[in-house]
């Protein structure tokens, strides 16, 4: 039976300091097939189009529902989640590459720990007294809560960093995702107590002044978070804070 095949050209790399190379694989087509499911097929039969048996392609995935953020890679030149990249919607052959904004560990597997470090810098948490019972939580404006809900979908996948021309060796910019998280915590009735700390952190090197307003981030965000809107509002808040700092001196 001549099954329809889907051709993949995958940029591989055997280790952090090895040279990248391409390998091609054919995967039997089926309806609703996505990129992660295709990589799983390669695991079951790790043979290239030249008939060479090779180690299966290495990548990171967990939920396959576009909510964990793990399977971000560059698919046909665009940073996105592989689990919801449906083959029917992709031009073939399909090119898979690691998101090289981040250090490559192997094949499509990358090290995104820098993003989690950035969340420390912006103090991405509400400073609660403890997990014990304190009091009732404050009532919140339901409209503000909806904005918070939107931003809180950020899964730290790194698409926006990969797409941003200002994230890379040339700059210290921590990137759109971690920056916008500062806005999230500044919205919360308890979180806003520490808003000046977060805004001051964003004045430092790698903070919001490194954003070049190229608007790439909002285009690629898989969660459709209005990143540029919140970056603009943060920019305003940071400026206000800078003025306040001057007068407080």
């Amino acid at each position: 039976m001549a099954d329809k095949m889907v051709r993949f050209i995958i940029e591989r790399q055997d280790g952090p300091n090895e040279k990248p190379y391409n390998q091609e694989f054919d995967v039997p087509y089926r309806p609703a097939l996505n990129v992660v499911a295709s990589l799983m097929e390669i695991q079951k039969n790790p043979v290239t189009v030249d008939g060479k048996r090779v180690p299966p392609v290495v990548w990171e995935c967990n939920c396959l529902e576009k909510v964990c953020g793990a399977c971000m890679m560059v698919i046909n030149g665009m940073a996105r989640q592989a689990c919801c990249a449906l083959i029917d919607e992709l031009k073939q052959p399909i090119h898979l590459q690691p998101a090289r904004t981040f250090p490559v560990i192997r094949d499509l597997l990358i090290d995104r720990s820098v993003m989690f470090e950035s969340l420390k810098k912006i103090q991405g948490w509400v400073e609660v007294d403890g997990s014990w019972e304190v009091k009732d939580a404050p009532i919140q404006n339901p409209y503000t809560a909806e904005t918070a809900y939107e931003i809180s979908h950020c899964m730290t996948c790194g698409c926006c960093l990969e797409a941003c021309p200002n994230v890379g060796p040339q700059s210290d910019f921590i990137g759109p995702a971690p920056t916008v998280q500062a806005y999230l915590f500044n919205l919360h009735p308890l979180g806003k107590f520490d808003a000046p700390k977060r805004l001051n952190a964003l004045m430092e090197k790698g903070g919001i002044t490194s954003c070049g307003n190229s608007q790439n981030c909002v285009e690629v965000c898989p969660k459709s978070i209005k990143l540029t809107t919140y970056l603009a509002q943060l920019n305003r808040d940071v400026n206000k804070q800078a003025l306040r700092n001057m007068f407080d001196k």
Partner: protein, 603 residues
């Protein structure tokens, strides 16, 4: 007063339960080494969608904690330890307030308080939610708090590390673990005063399921092999509404039905709302085991599935689109994205899927396993849900169990009960064993492909140990599982390297998955009754499935006299086979009664 010692606890797993335990330990003055397969922010807790149950009683329904207690025990078909459940439901409203303070963006009413929705097996609105991504939002809140503790030097994270096994001292107490860095493949032995496993469920044992790829139950099997009891493993929850897929079955939240969704198929050319007809009192909001069996019956036995396939409609199209967007946005988007249809306009097509394990590592009410120094909490333990879990009780049990296991681990560490810490020789020896095992796996050069064998394992488990079970099938399944275990020896790996060798690590996990499949199957074989998610068909004298005069399958009934007991499964190192026994548990508070969702609950 002298400062308390900074005891170091090892927590394996960074989902809700592991993070909650971590936070409690740090607040008590301890330190935590936190191990996870992935950055903890990507843990499987985030796949929970619909909500978290707590009696907030803000809808004028006179909801009570007792009602939540009774719904949970009744929903679990009277197999849950009632004292443990009572503790959980009493704590629930306090935990919601904690999450609210931490910044979880719960969906709110116009007045700004937390909104509540209906969920299965409960008559009152009791489910707090953040749109349809509640698990993600709760997990992020704890992830943020633990990051704060990390900055304070209280937590050391080991992300992309795989737990391999625990290490015991001469007195048999657990005082460390062996783990492997999944990127560099380095294997290291870590000392810790107490070890808490919070490693989640074993969904991958069934292959396609609603679980993440990391939910393989491998850690649970590892400690089972080291002497931990497994409790009630035969109770596997099949979620009624998932989007069938070849790579995974994607969950379509019970919240769809909670917000008014209706399940139907065509019968005689007209929509047949079979759940509403079969169960007039609860309708579409019957508990999951009941709904799954009904859908299975309608498709498989009555042949009424959509286009003759195993699918039924889950219909939201009668509900205003802006209401749906507000309450269910995230998952409707997911359905559109993966299926291509818009559930606001056309009914979704769904079918039941393996979803959750009520069973797991046996623990007492303080979350100690039977091995001193080893604790377990979250889905990997067996507590709270009995024979069937109510929707939105899992985020609750995961969080609550962490609030119990964390402080108790610290108390145990300080008690001096566990004997000496491990010597360097003991650490080295344990590490060496794991290194040799891994090297052996890397060199395997047989014929079998591990991933294909895994697929076969899943298909086998779905065939015999899913919604309907019978003793012939379970015997056959055990026989075939032994065959698969044997074939594991003949696996060949193509990756012999030591940089992120995912293939070799998967081969190690796969053996544990096969052993856990045997645990589930054997426990199901031995429990000769139907209870909750475990439904067993009677066999006639010829070994055929029994049918009544109307041609309906005859299921065994619930047998409280013999089986109102916790199943305990132990590992036999000589044969590798599971050994089943039973243990009494506390059901002193609510007297068992028949479970019938066709009529309103009577207490």
């Amino acid at each position: 007063m002298a400062a308390k010692p900074e005891n170091k606890i090892i927590v394996v797993g960074g989902g809700l339960s592991g993070l909650m335990a971590t936070m409690k330990i740090c607040e008590g003055g301890g330190k935590v080494d936190l191990f996870s397969y992935c950055p903890v922010k990507r843990s499987h807790s985030l796949c929970a969608q619909g909500g978290i149950n707590a009696c907030m009683d803000t809808k004028g329904e006179h909801d009570s904690i007792y009602e939540h207690f009774d719904d949970t025990v009744y929903g679990g078909d009277f197999l849950a330890d009632q004292i443990a459940v009572k503790g959980m439901v009493e704590a629930a409203p306090k935990l919601i307030k904690m999450f609210d303070r931490m910044g979880v963006p719960f969906t709110r009413t116009p007045e700004g308080v937390l909104d509540l929705r209906n969920f299965g097996g409960q008559k009152n609105k009791r489910t707090c939610f953040a749109g349809s991504t509640t698990g993600q939002q709760l997990l992020y809140a704890l992830d943020e708090q633990v990051r704060r503790l990390e900055v304070k030097g209280k937590v050391q994270k080991y992300e992309f590390w795989e737990f391999i096994k625990v290490i015991k001292n001469k007195e048999g107490a657990v005082r460390g673990i062996v783990a492997q860095n999944m990127n560099t493949n380095e294997i290291v032995a870590f000392p810790g005063e107490v070890v808490i496993l919070a490693t989640g469920g074993p969904g991958q044992v069934f292959g396609r399921c609603t679980a993440s790829t990391i939910c393989n139950g491998s850690a649970v099997t590892a400690v089972y092999k080291q002497g931990a009891h497994i409790g009630n493993p035969e109770f596997i929850q099949i979620h009624p509404t998932a989007i069938p897929g070849s790579d995974k079955n994607r969950l379509m939240s019970e919240a769809c039905r909670g917000e008014g969704g209706r399940v139907w198929v065509y019968k005689d050319g007209k929509p047949w709302y079979f759940l509403e007809e079969m169960y007039p009192a609860y309708g579409n909001l019957v508990p999951r085991d009941v709904a799954s069996r009904a859908i299975y019956k309608v498709c498989v036995h009555m042949g009424l599935g959509i286009n003759g396939e195993n699918r039924v409609y889950l219909d939201l199209s009668h509900i205003p689109a802006d209401y749906l967007e507000h309450k269910l946005g995230g998952i409707l988007e997911m359905y559109s994205e993966f299926v291509g249809d818009d559930p606001r306009k056309v009914p979704m097509e769904i079918f039941p899927s393996v979803h959750y394990s009520m069973g797991g590592i046996w623990v007492d009410r303080l979350h100690h396993t039977n091995i001193p120094g080893l604790m377990a909490s979250g889905e990997c333990d067996y507590q709270y849900h009995g024979a069937n879990r109510l929707g939105a009780n899992s985020l609750l049990s995961a969080t609550y169990s962490g609030t119990v296991s964390g402080p108790e681990a610290l108390r145990l560490a300080r008690s001096g009960e566990l004997g000496p810490m491990l010597t360097q020789e003991e650490l080295d020896a344990a590490r060496q064993e794991c290194v040799e095992e891994f090297d052996k796996i890397r060199a395997m050069d047989g014929e079998e492909n591990a991933h294909r064998l895994h697929q076969e394992l899943g298909e086998l488990m779905y065939k015999y140990v899913a919604i309907e079970r019978d003793n012939n099938g379970l015997d056959q399944c055990l026989k075939e599982l032994k065959g698969i275990l044997k074939r594991w020896d003949n696996i060949g790996v193509t990756d012999h390297g030591t940089v992120a060798n995912q293939e070799a690590m998967f081969v190690r996990q796969l053996r544990n998955m096969i052993l856990y499949a045997m645990v589930v199957t054997k426990a199901a074989r031995m429990r000769d009754e139907s209870r909750g998610a475990h439904a067993k068909i009677k066999l006639d004298a010829n070994g055929k499935q029994m049918k009544d005069a109307d041609g309906e399958l005859v299921f065994m009934g619930r047998d409280d006299e013999h089986f109102m007991r916790t199943t305990i499964v132990d590992y036999d190192p000589a044969t590798e086979e599971p050994q089943v026994s039973y243990m009494e548990f506390d059901h002193s508070l609510i007297k068992p009664r028949a479970r019938n969702y066709a009529v309103a609950k009577k207490e």
